[in-house]
């Protein structure tokens, strides 16, 4: 068990007139090597949860154990934890401040005391991980990049700390379809080729259902479902819709086919699966 949340609650503005409870007794276990998608309506506590995982917020109640160590018992441990868990906020390119991309990426590793010799290696490697060419990009200003490149450079700056777990808060927000596709292939690569654990928040059901291996559904500060994408989209259509979420379009299509009496499976997540299922149906005739 790598990350373990025990009865974690978080309240903003504790003991103030504006007190709001963002998370209510969350219990969660996350292993190494998982690919998790977190979905939920706006304001359900997703971002708060991500910040708790990284130790940026301290839970008002409960414990967060990482490698069976309570991360808030010891402040020194907290920095160690942040080396292991990289967090990319929404619009991570908003934190750029350096003149060149290589300096920007060097910020993280320098902070954790990486030597100059290793630094260049790290920059090269993290740029490669996000599929940006080192020699072409290292001296360019981060502000001269396109939206998609900026996003990937920002993620590279987090990868440079060499985290085992990468948390992404809506990585594809406001990207054009092509950059979005590119970024997703980078994320899949991080998971498959570089064996990183990925925790990702997204509002796009197609992305979540196709990529992730486990989905956590949140509502009003609680985890209400935690299962494989197939199980979640198979059994909980009404429940998901009642909390303002939708299914992937293709799942809807198959669901409707089934409703009008076609013998297809409704637990379909990708267009590819749907194609096979429909072909099977046609061939049977």
């Amino acid at each position: 068990m790598f990350i373990h949340l025990k009865n974690v609650s978080y309240t903003y503005n504790l003991n103030m007139p504006f007190e709001t409870e963002a998370l209510k007794s969350i219990n969660l276990k996350i292993d190494k090597g998982e690919f998790i998608g977190i979905i939920g309506h706006t304001g359900c506590g997703k971002t708060t949860l991500l910040q708790l995982l990284n130790g940026l917020l301290e839970p008002t109640e409960g414990q967060i154990l990482i490698d069976s160590i309570d991360i808030h018992k010891n402040k020194q441990k907290l920095r160690e934890i942040r080396k292991k868990i990289g967090l990319a906020f929404q619009y991570p390119e908003n934190q750029f401040f350096e003149e060149t991309i290589s300096k920007e990426i060097a910020f993280g590793p320098k902070n954790i005391g990486i030597s100059d010799i290793e630094l260049e290696q790290r920059i090269k490697r993290s740029l490669k991980m996000v599929d940006l060419d080192y020699s072409l990009y290292k001296d360019r200003s981060p502000f001269s990049l396109s939206g998609g490149e900026m996003r990937r450079a920002a993620i590279a700056s987090i990868l440079a700390i060499d985290p085992e777990i990468i948390i992404l808060d809506e990585p594809t927000a406001s990207l054009d379809p092509q950059s979005c596709y590119k970024l997703l292939s980078v994320i899949v690569n991080l998971y498959q080729k570089y064996n990183r654990t990925i925790i990702m928040v997204s509002h796009n059901m197609e992305i979540i259902s196709e990529l992730t291996k486990r989905i956590i559904v949140m509502e009003k500060g609680r985890v209400i479902m935690d299962d494989t994408p197939r199980n979640i989209f198979k059994y909980s259509i009404q429940k998901l819709e009642s909390i303002g979420l939708s299914l992937p379009q293709i799942t809807y299509t198959m669901y409707k086919l089934k409703k009008i009496g076609k013998p297809v499976s409704s637990a379909i997540l990708t267009v590819e699966e749907a194609k096979d299922e429909i072909l099977r149906l046609v061939k049977k005739r």
Binding site: M16, P17, Q51, N54, L56, R79, R82, K83, G86, L87, A88, F89, P92, N94, Q95, F96, F97, F107, G108, P109, N111, I112, F143, S157, I158, I161
Partner: protein, 238 residues
């Protein structure tokens, strides 16, 4: 308006009895405005240091009858009196301004300022533009604060350390927060001006208001009561 009068009064009052009257009047008003006492207290909290500082400065620097000596510092009777007096004045000042900002929305506040400044238009003072800039500035304070927090968190997530190191190091450590903050603020200002332009914004002359500020009878009554209390407390000499 009345708050400005009160502030003027706070500066004018010379006697203790006057101070007590104004204080009572302020507290009654705050009570009537149904402001949560916690908010008022929170507004005063950061200024306690300044209050204590003025108190001490006056204790030690005023000439007069010496009642206590610490090393080269003399505490005088007059010093204590004047120190307390100034501190209470400052306290009222903070109290009255926070009362104003807690009860009045920034928009009506700037509208009011525009109205008050409008007589300056004869001297070509751009009252409307000043009011508009104030509105925008007030509007973006919470946004900027939110953003500072977000950037700080993002940089901490990248291993930044804002707690250790000496003074110069610490200032350097803040660059990764300040630079993105400025870049985003400039971008936002740019977008805002374009958005205003796109909606054909033209300030100043002949511009009407969506919300009309009306001076009602209550306002006049309040104004007169305040004026009476002020003159009264000013005239009290004991």
């Amino acid at each position: 308006m009345a708050v400005i009068l009160i502030i003027i009064a706070i500066f004018l009052v010379k006697s203790w009895s006057g101070l007590v009257i104004i204080g009572a009047y302020l507290f009654i008003n705050i009570f009537l405005a149904k402001v949560h006492p916690k908010f008022v207290l929170k507004g005063i909290q950061p200024l306690i240091v300044i209050l204590l500082f003025t108190l001490l400065i006056h204790f030690f620097t005023t000439q007069g009858e010496i009642i206590y000596r610490i090393w080269v510092l003399n505490i005088t009777r007059e010093g204590i009196q004047r120190g307390l007096f100034i501190a209470v004045r400052l306290f009222y000042l903070i109290l009255s301004t926070s009362w104003l900002t807690l009860t009045t929305s920034p928009i009506s506040l700037t509208d009011g300022i525009e109205r008050l400044l409008s007589f300056l238009k004869i001297f070509k003072v751009p009252a409307h533009e000043i009011a508009m800039m104030m509105t925008i500035a007030l509007r973006f304070i919470p946004t900027l604060m939110e953003e500072t927090e977000k950037i700080t968190k993002a940089q901490i997530a990248r291993g930044a350390d804002f707690e250790s190191g000496n003074f110069i190091k610490r200032i350097q450590n803040f660059l990764p927060i300040i630079i993105p903050l400025f870049i985003n603020a400039f971008q936002r200002a740019d977008e805002l001006s374009i958005a205003m332009e796109a909606r054909c914004y033209r300030g100043g002359e002949d511009r009407t208001h969506y919300r009309q500020l009306l001076i009602t009878n209550t306002d006049y009554i309040f104004f007169i009561i305040t004026l009476i209390i002020l003159i009264g407390s000013y005239l009290l000499i004991i």
